[in-house]
Symmetry: C2
Subunit: 247 residues, 2 copies
DNA sequence: GCCGCGCTTTGATCTGCATCAAATGAGGCG
DNA sequence: CGCCTCATTTGATGCAGATCAAAGCGCGGC
């Protein structure tokens, strides 16, 4: 029997020992698919949920793999991405506490998911979640709202990828991070940017070099300040917003 | 009282006189959100549906407008798009018979919609549809599946916009049109391309000139043939697929 | 405290697609 | 049937961002 698994393996996320998640006191519940559930339903959720922790760089699942689980991020940050055969990569989203992960129309995941920083999730068997959805229409409705939201965000991102300049993309990105931080109750102005330049590049359809240069340029224009530990202060949100929305 | 509105105004689509749509014999029902409904539910749908026709270029709704209706395309083709303040445009999708239109997470449409060719739709009041969804869980589940599918498609499109070359984009686009035509029971090989070069450009994040040049190049390489009335024969689907998936 | 490694920044050059410009072609209408 | 209009194609040139290259720099290990 394992007394102390101390160091986590870097592969599939470590299972938490002990107590099931106390959904009733979950700090991010109001953001999640569980938001509209009553106590009875929450208890049912607790019984089918497993908590897992992933370290930065850990793979959560891979594109094409049978989609047996879905996840709720409770802490940390996740990137989801697709690859072309020659290695070109498109990050299609970053997920934070409260975000739902693993919706697949097909039987297989449509994208890969990897932790960007230390990340905790609630994991469900897809089949068990399906049963929950049938039993609790409010949950299904909530999931539909979440999906609609993601769809709107995806279209915003298409606009960015198809039509915005590098500077506009970076400004949009910083404002997005800031907005998401506020929604998640994290600090919104000196905003934390947990992902690497290359993840940002692959999210914005640019290269690391262009991302870096553009940050430098925004800094030299006094619009942002680059702080310690990947934190960025949005010094002139108004101008950044104008740039992002484009003029 | 209007006796004969003969020529349709080019604004909001003309209302059909007479009989409600015969949902029971609807040719595209199996593709739509109505697919899983029984006869009782179909009758209810009939009572809240209005049929409308739009001519090519007609606006169906505008981004930002209160989202009071949702639509089912029953015939024709629709483009949905977003604009930047200076007029740059991103077409985020083309919709065909069977496709659902108007999901808005917010109270407002997240994008504009315009007919690309003569188009017929079933229109519902959002509120009435919401009631239907509560009454018929199968319909809500179906809508969730549709939304999941669209999400997967959106991610595919982000990959295209962020990482593919012009040639790869055009190849992907033609194969997408062909696949959608097959799904909708329309002719899949000489595929009909109802939208203008400039709509295609705005969908693929290119310019009309680049779209045109790339078509010409694919033609000169013997991969496609440009036929009368915007039809395109995919002469070498294998190579097109290789190009689209990228090597 | 020093070393080594990977990430980020900065610099120099190249290129795919955009932009600008003009010719060609396809409908629609008088 | 010929003209007008607008979409498409083709051509010439420019540029934003990619690519190639080489320093900085922060961080963990010893």
């Amino acid at each position: 029997m394992v007394i102390s698994g101390d160091k986590v393996t870097r592969a599939a996320g470590s299972e938490e020992p002990g107590i099931p998640p106390a959904c009733a006191v979950c700090g991010v519940r109001s953001l999640t698919v569980c938001a509209p559930l009553d106590n009875e339903a929450l208890t049912a959720v607790e019984h089918i949920a497993t908590r897992r922790t992933f370290e930065s760089g850990d793979c959560i699942f891979d594109e094409g793999e049978p989609a047996r689980h879905v996840f709720n991020v409770t802490e940390g940050a996740v990137k989801i991405f697709k690859l072309l055969a020659d290695g070109r990569r498109q990050v299609t989203g970053f997920l934070f506490a409260g975000d739902f992960l693993g919706l697949a129309s097909d039987e297989a995941y449509a994208y890969s998911a990897e932790a960007v920083s230390t990340t905790r999730v609630c994991r469900f068997q897809r089949r068990q979640l399906d049963e929950m959805l049938q039993r609790y229409p409010l949950m299904e409705r909530r999931l539909l709202d979440i999906a609609s939201n993601e769809l709107a965000q995806a279209q915003e991102q298409m606009l960015l990828l198809g039509r915005k300049t590098a500077k506009e993309r970076i400004a949009s990105f910083l404002l997005l991070l800031s907005r998401r931080a506020r929604q998640g109750g994290r600090q919104e102005n000196p905003v934390t940017v947990p992902m690497s330049r290359s993840d940002i590049a692959d999210y914005l359809g640019l290269t690391t070099e262009t991302v870096s240069r553009t940050f430098t340029k925004l800094k030299s224009e006094g619009l942002i300040e680059l702080l310690r530990e990947g934190r960025v202060r949005l010094a002139d949100k108004g101008t950044l917003t104008e740039i992002a929305e484009t003029f």
